[in-house]
């Protein structure tokens, strides 16, 4: 039997890395088990001539398409939005766009302000120091002073406006609408051992330059140097409990596929809004017959995705195409509730600079705007290098029927039941998406764009996995308390996006990590009576 560790963290992604680094100063024995391995930037797509093709195969954002041994399958047949993620040290920060907005203060009080969903048990101010700390650790770039966003202090200047940004900015100015350079986790200067961005363009499926921050190159090197043990290729099957109903440790499969038991005094789950409920539901016992920490029945429920309404078109001027980070600007013009629009809550916008030639050809052929035959070449030259995009990130409100359960048949390579998604887009979200598409069309037409195309929702757009083990003060209406400890098991914590109460209308990674740092801080302050 292995010696027990003080703290066992499951998952080495965005939140697992942050909580590990923060707790390292306690000098406790901290172990993180990660089902994937360390990444090798020399193998990243942008190092090869076939960089675009790889996105359709081993570098797909979908684990079902990718099918690496580190991935687990997900049955998302009953969802118009498919789950995308990445499994490795760094988790899905290896494969994300690096767009870095924070939830707004109003996002924590939606019940009070708008009479829908629930308020969070904490407010924005509680997270402020951790947002700042996280921005320093991840290394953000941006321009402080956006009047419609929370105040940030990015340590690096914003990305260049580029060709696409200027076209978008001019159109937004004509319409009198808000826009601002996005905060991003793309380094615009050399920073903490990372090289500055050189515009490889293919940011989402990993950055060979190391300019895009992912936790394998930000938090983890610091955490490992501080003494945290990170064990890779270890897939946790279940969390076990002792006779007192406390977490005793985890059963996992090591890199050789051998079943192991690792005892621990504290267990922290950091597996995202799909992986976390899957693990809890797989951790059934006589004492917890409906899954661990599930006395509320809410484990897996209230899944929120952020339906993306995307619209794009083609302008006469050249755009940045694939020669720049894909996102550069945001707008918060429609972020707050205005009931005259016909829906409650709102959406953030991220503008997209363009696409590479293979992606352009494949997608345009599928959309029917790029013909076969003799006219193919003329049309392709009109489209390629001229694309501008608008994506609205619509706030998804929690609904209990949107749910992660266990698939009765599908299993991963270790025989562990896979997650199954049941999800529908609400009427409120549909109205929001339609509103966003209409605004996006106005912007694109003002910019002179033609051949306008729509993806609503973006089908492979389930990046943001939120709400499936929600935070709250009432054990009957929530899974974890206001500092991340499960109501049912006093030495079990959750720090990932599953604890979100509502989703806001922005990319959530910044807020997920701020929450993880906040929970780590709460744990450190309560070490003497952590289990009371």
């Amino acid at each position: 039997m292995k010696d027990p560790v003080d703290v066992l963290i499951i998952g080495a992604g965005a939140s697992g890395a942050a909580v590990a680094w923060s707790l390292a100063e306690t000098k406790m024995h901290i172990l993180c088990l990660e089902q994937g391995g360390w990444m090798n930037p020399a193998e990243y797509p942008s190092t090869g001539r076939d960089w675009e093709a790889k996105f359709y195969g081993e570098w797909s954002s979908s684990p079902n398409v990718r099918g690496r041994p580190e991935d687990y399958p997900i049955n998302d047949d009953n969802s118009p939005i498919k789950v995308v993620n990445y499994n490795a040290v760094g988790g899905s920060t290896v494969m994300y766009t690096a767009h870095w907005p924070r939830l707004h203060p109003s996002d924590f009080k939606v019940k009070t302000l708008d009479g829908v969903a629930d308020d969070w048990p904490i407010d924005y101010d509680a997270l402020t120091p951790f947002f700042e700390e996280n921005d320093r650790m991840m290394g953000t770039s941006g321009l402080s002073g956006d009047p419609l966003s929370p105040l940030t202090h990015p340590p690096m200047p914003q990305q260049p406006l580029g060709l696409s940004g200027a076209i978008i900015g001019k159109a937004m100015n004509k319409l009198g609408w808000h826009w601002w350079p996005s905060d991003t986790t793309v380094a615009t200067m050399d920073y903490d051992g990372r090289a500055r961005c050189i515009n490889l363009g293919h940011c989402t499926p990993a950055c060979a330059q190391g300019a895009k921050s992912s936790t394998d190159i930000t938090y983890w090197p610091h955490a490992v140097r501080a003494g945290v043990e990170l064990r890779t290729h270890c897939r946790v099957r279940e969390i076990t409990t002792d006779e007192n109903g406390m977490a005793a440790g985890v059963v996992y499969y090591d890199k050789d596929g051998v079943e192991q038991f690792q005892p621990a005094h504290v267990v922290i789950i950091a597996c995202n809004g799909v992986g976390t409920p899957r693990l809890l539901l797989n951790s059934k016992s006589d004492r917890f017959p409906d899954g661990l920490a599930n006395s509320s029945g809410l484990v897996g429920r209230n899944l929120m995705f952020h339906p993306y309404a995307q619209i794009y078109g083609y302008v006469k001027e050249p755009t940045d195409s694939n020669r720049a980070p894909p996102t550069c600007l945001w707008s918060k013009q429609w972020y707050d509730t205005d009931l005259s629009r016909g829906f409650v809550r709102g959406y953030g916008v991220q503008f997209v600079r363009g696409a590479g030639p293979v992606f352009e050809a494949v997608v345009s052929e599928q959309k029917g705007i790029l013909p076969w035959g003799a006219d193919h070449h003329r049309v392709f030259r009109k489209l390629n290098g001229h694309r501008l995009g608008f994506s609205a990130i619509c706030e998804d409100l929690p609904e209990e029927h949107n749910q992660v359960t266990l698939d009765p048949v599908l299993k991963d390579s270790h025989g562990i039941p896979a997650p199954k998604i049941n999800y529908t887009i609400s009427e409120n979200s549909r109205k929001m998406m339609d509103h966003a598409l209409a605004r996006g069309r106005e912007i694109l037409e003002t910019a002179g764009a033609t051949d306008i195309c729509i993806n609503s929702p973006i089908p492979w757009g389930g990046w943001h996995l939120l709400g499936t083990a929600r935070m709250g003060t009432d054990p009957k209406r929530s899974v974890v308390n206001e500092w991340g400890r499960t109501h049912d098991v006093k030495n079990l914590f959750i720090v990932d996006g599953s604890i979100f109460v509502t989703s806001g209308g922005v990319n959530p990674t910044s807020t997920i990590q701020a929450l993880a740092l906040y929970i780590a801080d709460q744990m450190k302050q309560r070490l003497a009576n952590l289990f009371d």
């Binding site: 942008s46 190092t47 090869g48 001539r49 076939d50 960089w51 675009e52 093709a53 359709y56 195969g57 707004h104 203060p105 109003s106 009080k109 302000l113 407010d123 924005y124 321009l143 009047p147 419609l148 966003s149 929370p150 990305q159 260049p160 406006l161 580029g162 060709l163 940004g165 200027a166 900015g169 937004m172 100015n173 009198g176 808000h178 826009w179 601002w180 350079p181 961005c197 050189i198 515009n199 490889l200 363009g201 060979a208 330059q209 020669r323 720049a324 972020y335 707050d336 030639p357 293979v358 050809a361 494949v362 052929e365 599928q366 076969w372 035959g373 003799a374 193919h376 070449h377 030259r381």
Partner: protein, 149 residues
């Protein structure tokens, strides 16, 4: 078994024929068609995980055509191709995608488009900083963040 051998000769013939229908050669742009031997060789060598769906698409195509695609008259060939694209689902989409992804990485094609013949890394690209005075109207308009209680 090499990817080359995953397709029968008849399937490879049909692949070449339909690739030329998707992207024919152009004297105007000085580019080969997607039936060019080098592009076809690239497709066959890199089919990999797409081989199953591409094979399914070519089987579907063979059923629709009833004979080698190249032997049909032009009108019938077009009708078969349209039917495949309309009814072929994920398999047909994959077939078209593998043709396009190999075509648009061919040196001659990239050169014709004015693109550099290299991977993005390690040289990257230069991005103009742009005119940030465009942001002045937004700063002047200001605005307020919604307050939370």
């Amino acid at each position: 078994m090499s990817a080359d051998n995953q397709l029968t000769r008849a399937q490879r013939d049909d692949l070449r024929t339909i690739a030329a229908m998707i992207v024919p050669a152009s004297d105007e742009h000085k580019v080969p068609g997607a039936d060019d031997p080098a592009i076809q060789a690239d497709i066959l060598a890199t089919l990999g995980r797409d081989a199953k769906l591409v094979t399914a698409a070519l089987d579907h195509l063979a059923r629709l055509a009833g004979q080698p695609l190249a032997e049909l008259d032009a009108a019938r060939r077009d009708a078969v191709a349209q039917e495949l694209r309309k009814q072929g689902g994920a398999a047909a989409a994959t077939l078209v995608r593998v043709v396009l992804q190999c075509y648009y990485r061919d040196d001659r094609v990239l050169r014709s488009l004015g693109l550099e013949l290299r991977a993005p890394f390690p040289n990257g690209y230069v991005l103009p900083d742009g005119d940030w005075s465009l942001l002045d109207p937004v700063k002047a308009r200001s605005g307020t963040l919604r307050r939370a209680p």
